[in-house]
Symmetry: C2
Amino acid sequence: MEKLKKYVSVKDEDHFYHQGAVELLIFNFLLILTILTIWLFKNHRFRFLHETGGAMLYGLVMGLIIRYVTKSPDVESGTVYECEELKSGPSTLLINITNQVYEYQYKREISHHNVNGHQGNAMLQKQMTFDPSIFFNILLPPIIFHAGYSLKKRHFFRNLGSILTYAFLGTAISCIVIGSISIYSPKENPNAFDAAAFFQSVGNFLGIFAGSFAMGSSYAVVTALLTKFTKLCEFPMLETGLFFLLSWSAFLSAEAAGLTGIVAVLFCGVTQAHYTYNNLSPDSKMRTKQLFEFMNFLAENVIFCYMGLALFTFQNHIFNPLFIFGALVAIFVARASNIYPLSFLLNLGRKQKIPRTFQHMMMFSGLRGAIAFALAIRDTESQPKQMMFSTALLMVFFTVWVFGGGTTAMLTWLQIRVGVDPDEDLKARAASQSAPNLDKNTTKAESAWLFRIWYGFDHKYLKPLLTHTGPPLTSTLPEWCDPVARLLTSPRAYGDQLKDGDSVYIINNDELTENYESSAHIAVPAQDSTASTQATGKEDIQEGDLGLGGYKLQLQHTAGQPQKNSLA
Amino acid sequence: MEKLKKYVSVKDEDHFYHQGAVELLIFNFLLILTILTIWLFKNHRFRFLHETGGAMLYGLVMGLIIRYVTKSPDVESGTVYECEELKSGPSTLLINITNQVYEYQYKREISHHNVNGHQGNAMLQKQMTFDPSIFFNILLPPIIFHAGYSLKKRHFFRNLGSILTYAFLGTAISCIVIGSISIYSPKENPNAFDAAAFFQSVGNFLGIFAGSFAMGSSYAVVTALLTKFTKLCEFPMLETGLFFLLSWSAFLSAEAAGLTGIVAVLFCGVTQAHYTYNNLSPDSKMRTKQLFEFMNFLAENVIFCYMGLALFTFQNHIFNPLFIFGALVAIFVARASNIYPLSFLLNLGRKQKIPRTFQHMMMFSGLRGAIAFALAIRDTESQPKQMMFSTALLMVFFTVWVFGGGTTAMLTWLQIRVGVDPDEDLKARAASQSAPNLDKNTTKAESAWLFRIWYGFDHKYLKPLLTHTGPPLTSTLPEWCDPVARLLTSPRAYGDQLKDGDSVYIINNDELTENYESSAHIAVPAQDSTASTQATGKEDIQEGDLGLGGYKLQLQHTAGQPQKNSLA
């Protein structure tokens, strides 16, 4: 028989629904304030606080008000019940009170100092009913999907090699450095380096990454096929709905299958933009763009408001100054040992080097945002995890306010021009130098070899299969596939053979399109060993982190530019 | 000291987040299926099952699968704890298990027969974590707002008198009839009619209605002023965001203040469409329309899917055949004693009568849908409320499938033409009858007197204040208000004096616009006693219920039409 002992306060609250409305209303007001502030900032060209920084600030103020100004409602004679037989908290508890059974649902673990000082303010308590899984499953996917869907493919594919290097090798270096700095932590288990465990982790990582990638792109492929082979485009609302639901399902399926939804939905977004977008009705093209833009905007601001709020209203903060300082040092050391050495190595193989100023800027862009927060809040049930959460929260505040706020100043100081299309700039300079004919071979070589392989496959097989464009499959597949090829090729593709918008990813000047078009038809297959000889390429630097709060810098890198700047 | 006794099963579940993803995924799949089905139906012009009926059907099938096919996971040694000291379930329970305090949150009351047969399927249990307040605060507002925002104002205002009669008097009659039929119920308290209580309820109703109306329109007025006096329209995303958040806040504020959010957000939608819409940038006009259209579509289908699911997965159904039958009879008797007598009375004052066929159709359109469900699921904590919920659910199924599915057949049988603009029709017939000049006085008298009063005030004061259109306030306000009037009038209004799109609400033929324009300037003030002499008007019949599942009929009523039909 379990025994229950009276212990501490329990609050009783009747008006569940009014309470729910009040909570949502608080968020609405915070967001309205944020929007008006953004407008004021934009109107007055004030750039030292980014909109997300503003959202956090308002959340912070509201958190302070909720914590210290609102009157704590009468706390009823509260009770902590003691239960000796159970070893851990079950997810559901049935309790018989005066012959009526009530169901209770597990919410969280409470640290002891909080139990003792438990000052039940109804608002504070309810605040945390903003279930962490809402962040993760509902607010995060649109942000990441939008990043993929609105990705500037041209810049992305041109710099594929460098981006992948920073993303994989860079993240691995960061992990190792941060991990090593934590072995200084007061934790037990100072194990020696375990090679087997290391390779197992690498294997796990690659497996999960590949699985998530496959999951995300499969959903996009299904969407592309559905929009290609049905006449759904006659009903833009249904089309948009299907597009939205299948894209979201990519995230949820990956999570449900134990993969990572973030990777899945990112690549789903990229693939949707690359294939499905072409099949949509003009109405749906606009609807999906605007819908995801809007959802991204809203979700991002909700998360940043909530972060501000959470600093004062989350009840289980554990601030450990040593851990916070150590973590802050660790992420910067890790970033430095990732950016500078990798840039050095990449520059060995690049014709157009990544200049020092850009490397400093990348160092400075190490912001933490929505993803870091969503990952940290996902599980705050044990005390080490609560400490992680508090630390991550402070890290977001620090990086967004200090680095985010200083971005404009830093760009000016490093003399980096932003918001200029490198192609336009290149053309303009080519014209002014009266050298209209750039060396064609240089231009061809500018394409990353990885992309050239991919492009051939995509152009010959995937585009014709998944969209109405590209060369007909009947001309690219072997002859014995003809019946299937005929079935799968859109009638529209036969007239389209020579048009392909993607050629711009490879070449720089529109004048050279015909030059590339001929080379596309002799595109190297994946196994061709000569492909690796074209490994150098002109590359732009892209923002490295996603969901870092809307800092969308379009850094520009063109040959000769840095030198010009350094003289100015 | 409270005692806990072992009683029945408690389930432990680790993977909260995966579980959450699986639940959302199930809904996504149901919605995807629904969308594909809608498309198939539209494609094959199949009209005997409406899309919302289809959504319910899929939900039902999924509910069956979850209930009978999925394997119930291992149920741990479960426990119902007994607690003698508490009188009712507190909202939060703190439990000390092996020196660690866990917090539990109140979920619901469980009826005894369910406790005894408690077969804890994790899926079933988690299903109900789809918090009812989500329906009410998140899914319902966009549906109702959309109804208001996309309301055909022309039809609405022309028939204001009849609509208000059906809405207020009709609802009151229905309430009384349903209430009387329930005094036959096996409940206690057969009180005699209490006149004081009756008038108090009427007073309460009017007070809450007026308060909600004021709340809803205030938010719209604030939005109109913000969009008029700032240059927010330069940033369509911010504008759309503000519009969205303020409109939602109307609902939430009303709920938080103890008013009714449904009324608030409906009138907020109407007011936003009437004023704010004019101030929006062209981009935002489209964005807001499409956003709310999409949200309405999604929310409606989620609710109908969930209804299907709830029939098999809600664990506390109480099906009382007598109550269900009684309720079904009651709503039909109530509807009959509302439609027919009121139509008779209205027809006494109408030049163009509401024909019998239309009355039958209104009788047949008594569908229950999202609102009925959201209201019923809002509170299922006690057993009578669970019985109400189960009954309401069956009522929705019955009315949506039987009446909804039979709508097309019924319209054909009653020979009612749909989807025809009455004005166009009138013009066409006027032309064919070679009687181009309809009697001007008749046309003027066709406008409802209530609307004429309103129109004068709106045209002279509200439109110039809240939008960029209408006559300048300097010409409509008394002279001593000039400084304020000058400040509040948009510079654009001075050129706009003679243009006002609203004139179409009052007159029927474009040729007569100039005739109305002159009469608008001598518009009767609210106190003018002659206004009531113009009480007759041409009226269209509008759908009476909101949120009934997307049955948007545009019934048409033009003079002479019914007679023609009855001869056909």
